[in-house]
Symmetry: C2
């Protein structure tokens, strides 16, 4: 197969496995003596190492954010926004994208071997918080010899990492870009995550999380979990436009007993089944828990203004009008707290009918907002060289 | 146990099993030669049998809508609205409440014995449409010798029956009261129902729907299905108020590995487990399909105005501000179509933070709307006597 690679693509890319040979103390108290991270980079690090962007992925993301893997015809998950001339412009920035620990695309996580037992970690992988991903990313930063990120960028759980970076390591980033995110999940968000986890655990093939040792996987449970997530990441409006009440099979004639299947049912079942072959169930449980546990200001007397008082960087906050899982109101709360804390913040509420998924999808206004902001960042960097 | 029965309760009630010994031809073409219905009535039928209200239940409802069963301390599901002096005033109306076919509280359904096989119907129970419930209710009407309902009343799927009655039997009801309902489900509604059905079918104890023959039940799948439904029937706001991010166990101290459980998780798991002991999984599949299939105007060239043109009764339409599963917009569409069809319609959009469940819960404005409307209906009846 020959692939026509678009001119504004970073082209064929490959991942590198980086061994972080330093201890990482997790928030739960467990110490990982070393860990491995799958990493991709796009663009060129400049001489003073000041032009690096860190990409933080969300629940199901990987290190493969842009370009094409050899032989693959689907680009990385944020390819619309990373590439030469794109908002995260690889002609100007050096983009670092990693798969975080606890996930399942090659970095240390539940599918890795626990050196102490010689078996896969499985459900025994330690509980994680967003701050643990930030600490692991800080060790990766040292590996590259970078002193300060030009920006840390992420959507959803990725935005939570971008905020956590600003509080934990105020001098190590110049900009925090927080997209379709929240300072904490609502009870409804937690409820959907808990149902997804329970779907996985209810599958007899889950076997208390030790399914790998039994050469099996809770695929039916994970498919259900994904279906629940998928519905909540789309808007009612978009689903109506895309699927309406169109039938895939059967018909409604009276006296007709053949079952009717709506297009939306077939689509969702397909999405669930596909995902359940690509993702690890223990990782899904672990990372949804990270989302639930995140609470930006818990350790700052529950005061977001006090929390953001520790930040030293500038902020861009973006939300999408039809996102009901991480609604614009959540981004306005972030923005208000930043303003009250006296920080520089730009906020854009982008019109979109794509729901939470909008942060991954092409959208001219979103492109303009992100592109203009980062182009100013690059101008400053290049002027200062 | 002695129970303090409130003065405005219908008191201790009991159900009657009514044999409908006439053939019922279902929309799918199957004929039930006879069927049984569990029925409760409250109040007294007047001499000319003109004061009867028909209560249509929704997905998980039963015939037990008001009062107390002997030895039980929880009243029927619509007890807030049915009783002496309540909006459905049993001093003035004769209220008929039944468990519909396909459900699981004693009426003919998947847990009944199929006379042709001597085994429970299970998943072989024929597919149902809202019109089938209406036809069965019409046979029950004959059983009582009632010529015309003073009103047919229902919320959610119950409202769909109230609308279907108005189109199919225009001369057999004086009023149709349609609460928190819709002329058809959206793709998002169907998606949530399909995930619920898949949760049930994914449970190995489902055994292709023949679980009763194996003395088992897909309880884990049904619990999940209920949890999904439950979250979507509540509003984000209410869940935030009731549960917020409060913990049931664990704590967030760093270095603490004990798992954290939020109150909302524990609440939902409890609701799911409780329901899965009370309801039948095949009924759940059957009735969610009825919801999905309902499309008021499918057989009227997809024109709601043309559909409602067949109606002869007056209408009351009620919606609740925080109901996102059957949003106020759906009720406004019903109201607009009724107005365009030249019908008498009253519409009330009631402020509530209770989500879709609001139609079951006490609410002064809702009580006033329903009470005033039905009191006028009773005045007319009594004046005409």
């Amino acid at each position: 197969m020959t692939l026509d690679i678009p001119k504004n693509s970073v082209g064929i890319v490959s991942a590198e496995k980086v061994l972080i040979d330093k201890p990482l103390t997790l928030a739960c108290g467990v110490v990982l003596p070393s860990h491995e991270l799958m990493v991709e980079t796009y663009g060129t690090l400049n001489a003073d190492k000041s032009n690096a962007l860190l990409i933080c992925h969300a629940l199901s993301g990987s290190h493969h954010a842009a370009g094409f893997h050899e032989g693959d015809d689907k680009p990385g998950w944020w390819d619309s926004y990373i590439g030469p001339g794109k908002p995260m412009d690889t002609n100007r920035f050096f983009v670092v994208s990693l798969n975080n620990i606890g996930s399942c695309f090659g970095s240390t996580g539940p599918t890795s071997i626990n050196p102490q037992t010689g078996e896969p970690w499985g459900a025994q992988f330690p509980a994680l918080r967003a701050r643990d991903w930030v600490e692991s990313q800080r060790l990766l930063m040292e590996h590259f010899g970078i002193q300060r990120w030009a920006a840390v960028v992420g959507g959803s759980l990725g935005g939570m990492q971008a905020m956590r970076w600003a509080l934990e390591h105020p001098d190590k980033l110049a900009n925090s870009i927080v997209i379709a995110s929240s300072m904490k999940l609502s009870a409804q968000n937690i409820a959907f995550n808990e149902i997804a986890r329970r779907a996985i655990k209810s599958d007899p093939e889950f076997r208390d999380g030790n399914y790998l040792q039994h050469n099996t996987a809770p695929r039916r449970g994970l498919a259900l979990a994904r279906m629940i997530g998928h519905v909540t990441y789309l808007s009612d409006e978009l689903m109506g436009q895309k699927f309406g009440r169109e039938l895939r099979s059967g018909d409604f004639a009276q006296g007709e007993a053949e079952p009717v299947e709506f297009q939306i049912e077939s689509y969702l079942n397909y999405q669930g089944d596909k995902f359940s072959g690509d993702f690890d169930a223990n990782s899904y449980i672990l990372i949804t828990k990270m989302l639930d546990y995140f609470d930006l200001s818990r350790e700052y007397q529950n005061d977001p203004v006090q929390a953001f008082g520790h930040a030293n960087c500038d902020f861009l906050v973006v939300s999408f009008s039809s996102d009901w899982r991480f609604a614009p109101q959540r981004s306005r709360e972030i923005t208000d707290a930043l303003i009250a804390a006296g920080k520089n913040v730009s906020y854009a509420e982008v019109e979109s009918d794509q729901g939470h998924d909008a942060f991954l999808l092409p959208n001219p206004r979103y492109e303009a907002v992100l592109g203009n902001y980062l182009s100013r960042v690059a101008d400053q960097l290049e002027g200062a060289v």
